[in-house]
């Protein structure tokens, strides 16, 4: 009798589990989490990310939602501190009960969240930290959109090498002494070896360094005229400022953060028309159409906060929604992951290259567009369309 009761109870539990919906899904709503840098010096990234999610969610919801369910985005601030990212994701999972994650902050931050993501089998689209550490080794529920810094620098240096006809080229590298800097150096290495060009100094600096006078003097002395500038935002601007003081004639490859308006405002006064490789569009009809949507769904302040990270999260949430949509009414995390794994050539309306996660690394958007800044009017022109490196 006891055995029969146990068997009945077990069968009941099993059947409940089979039909139970995963957290974050109700008949009318799907909760999507977003952990981001909403405070501190890098908050312009988090705010842009948050606006991207908001616009995508509003657009999806207006079109009827995901099989009738509306998307709600819940944002948590991590201040760019990995320990707080962990805390924030714990809150999103335990208190808000999110179904999936679309905003994941920086590389160290997403890595700090990784054990929780894996443990909860949380469908996660990483759009702002496409570092190799995120997709290698591949985690079953993690899908990454974005090219590597390595490819971005290789692509730009290749363009300079083939199209810009620099006389007696001497290449130099200045980069942060962390995982991000190492990735840049990897692309630089590849370019140097492949082109067989003369190499100048490779200089590492600490994140947050403000004065690059000695470093750039070293570059000048070595006759560097092709610079791989691994500085970001104020750092990149200071490097260019020092180069201008030394009257260096340079062709410059930069990090994609340098195509954002705050970065351009800081760097443009140095007068260098630097190159940027990015995996999102910065101009053209796709961006014009996006801005129209932005003005429809976001406030004036939110529109002002838009930059490349907005486009990325917008694309990320649309890809995630497509995965969920393909599951039909029986929406589960396992199904969403399975559907995302099969996503191929998902159209982003030109905001980025089409998204395909049907590869070993579950990595997409690796094609890069190369742009050049016009430092006088602070606009970018496309030099090369999306290309795989």
């Amino acid at each position: 009798m006891k055995k029969t009761l146990f068997a009945l109870a077990a069968a009941l539990l099993a059947s409940t589990a089979a039909y139970a919906q995963d957290p974050g899904v109700s008949d009318t709503e799907i909760k999507i989490g977003d952990v981001n840098i909403m405070t501190g010096p890098a908050s312009f990234i988090g705010k842009a990310v948050s606006v991207g999610s908001k616009i995508a969610a509003a657009e999806i919801n207006e079109a009827g939602g995901v099989n009738g369910r509306k998307i709600t985005v819940v944002t948590e601030d991590d201040g760019y501190v990995p320990a707080r990212s962990f805390q924030a994701l714990t809150k999103l999972i335990e208190v808000d009960g999110i179904f999936a994650l679309n905003g994941t902050s920086g590389t160290a931050n997403v890595l700090a969240m990784m054990p929780l993501i894996e443990e909860n089998n949380l469908p996660t689209v990483v759009t702002t930290a496409p570092n190799e550490l995120v997709y290698n080794p591949v985690r079953p529920s993690v899908f990454t959109v974005g090219a590597s810094y390595s490819d971005a620098f290789y692509g730009q240096l290749k363009y300079i090498h083939e199209n810009m006809k620099v006389e007696n080229p001497v290449y130099g590298l200045i980069r942060q002494d962390d995982d991000f800097g190492a990735s840049i150096e990897h692309g630089y290495d590849r370019a140097i070896k492949e082109f067989g060009v003369k190499e100048g100094p490779r200089i590492r600096f600490k994140k947050g360094t403000a004065n690059y006078a000695a470093e750039m003097a070293q570059m000048k002395q070595a006759g560097v005229n092709v610079l791989a500038n691994g500085g970001i935002i104020a750092g990149a601007a200071n490097i260019l400022g020092e180069a201008r003081k030394l009257d260096m004639d340079l062709q410059i490859a930069s990090v994609w953060s340098e195509d954002m308006p705050p970065s351009v405002n800081l760097s443009a006064p140095a007068g260098y028309d630097y190159l940027v490789a990015d995996y999102v569009a910065l101009d053209g009809p796709a961006i014009d159409a996006f801005m129209e949507k932005a003005r429809k769904y976001a406030s004036e302040d939110e529109v002002a906060a838009i930059n490349r990270y907005t486009y990325l999260t917008y694309v990320g949430l649309h890809a995630l929604a497509e995965g969920m949509k393909r599951c039909g009414k029986e929406l589960t995390r396992a199904c969403t992951i399975e559907q995302l794994r099969g996503l191929k050539d998902f159209d982003t309306q030109g905001v980025s290259a089409p998204i395909s996660f049907d590869n070993e690394k579950q990595l997409s958007g690796t094609a890069l567009k190369i742009y050049q800044l016009n430092s006088k009017d602070k606009t970018f022109k496309t030099l090369q369309d999306f290309t795989q490196y």
Partner: protein
């Protein structure tokens, strides 16, 4: 009505407390702490684990700054040393957690001698800057010694077990952190009442007078550095256990400032103060978040653009206001409350 508190026997003098009320209160708090994970949700338990780790770190820093009067801004460095030691020993050398945890403290304590020796003649701001420089050095060493620390890639920490339990999440992690915090607090209370603790206080109050009274400044200052760093190293190991990932970004220099803020806000030199400060500063952001979530529309554009900065400003304003109104810290407030009730109804 009580008119005073007189200690009449030696036993009363050496006891941690001779007050039954205090012991009952401690027992009640401990009982509440033991049942907390059964009553609270997982997120609240995670917050409590972070708070317990902050308590361990704050008690460690309090030994150095509060009790001995040596200002240190190198706590982020010692936390990193403890966390990396634990991560490397567990993941690369296969040590069990019960061995790698004390080893994290020992390595941090040994490294503190390197900071302690050149800092012996320094105090105040000079010492603060020296210890800050140490944190920078540790940062560089971790990034460049890739063969040992995995450089900027960091280390994932998994498989920590104690008595067969996975102690990296949920209740087992909570009880591990609670056990460590209880041991650290108990040890710190005893050290503070010992000859060593009294020597540290003498150094803090007037180092020349302390030396005249026979306190060996070199020995006791170094000892303060070592004991403090041992405890902070343990806190670092617990952080690596909770987050399950160590990377240099986890130990940003702001942690040193936050640690100092905890000790000052709690009340310098008091272990109870360090505990109160850790609880207050760990839970304040959560309280502010709850306040804003309750009183503002989370779907508004205000929420996507300004609310986070306003929360940060509120956090700062609360700390400033508190220190302005109660410079002796939370422990001062606690003493005032205790005095009020002890003397009631004649309190003034």
């Amino acid at each position: 009505m009580r008119t005073g508190h007189f200690k009449e026997r030696t036993g009363q003098l050496v006891a941690l407390s001779d007050s039954k009320v205090v012991w009952s209160f401690v027992a009640l708090l401990f009982a509440l702490a033991l049942v907390a994970p059964f009553v609270l949700g997982n997120y609240q338990v995670t917050l409590l684990v972070s708070t317990l780790i902050a308590i361990v770190g704050a008690v460690g820093l309090n030994m150095l700054t509060g009790t001995t009067g040596l200002i240190s801004l190198g706590q982020a460095g010692f936390l990193a040393v403890g966390a990396y030691t634990n991560a490397i020993l567990m993941m690369d050398f296969g040590w069990p957690f019960w061995l790698s945890l004390p080893a994290a403290g020992v390595v941090a304590a040994l490294i503190s001698i390197l900071v302690g020796v050149p800092s012996l003649r320094l105090k105040g701001l000079y010492l603060a800057i020296t210890t800050l420089a140490f944190a920078f050095i540790i940062n560089h060493v971790i990034l460049y010694a890739e063969w040992l620390t995995h450089g900027p890639n960091g280390i994932f920490v998994s498989g920590a077990k104690l008595f067969g339990f996975d102690i990296q999440k949920g209740k087992p992690l909570y009880y591990t952190a609670l056990g460590v915090a209880a041991i650290v607090v108990f040890a710190a209370l005893n050290i503070q009442r010992s000859r060593i603790g009294r020597a540290w206080m003498a150094i803090r109050d007037h180092d020349i007078a302390a030396r005249v009274m026979g306190v060996d400044l070199v020995r006791y200052k170094l000892l303060a550095f070592m004991v403090s760093s041992f405890i902070v190293g343990i806190a670092g190991a617990l952080i690596s256990l909770q987050i399950r990932f160590v990377n240099i970004d986890v130990f940003a220099l702001i942690l040193s400032i936050e640690a100092l803020a905890i000790v000052i806000l709690g009340g310098l030199g008091s272990i109870a103060g360090a505990i109160l400060g850790a609880i207050f500063l760990s839970l304040l952001p959560e309280a502010i978040r709850l306040f804003f979530e309750t009183f503002s529309d989370t779907n508004s554009s205000f929420y996507t653009t300004y609310v986070y900065e306003i929360r940060g400003i509120t956090y700062g304003v609360v700390i400033i206001a508190f220190l302005r109104l109660k410079p002796e810290g939370l422990i001062g407030l606690w003493r005032d409350i205790r005095k009020y009730w002890s003397n009631w109804p004649l309190a003034y």
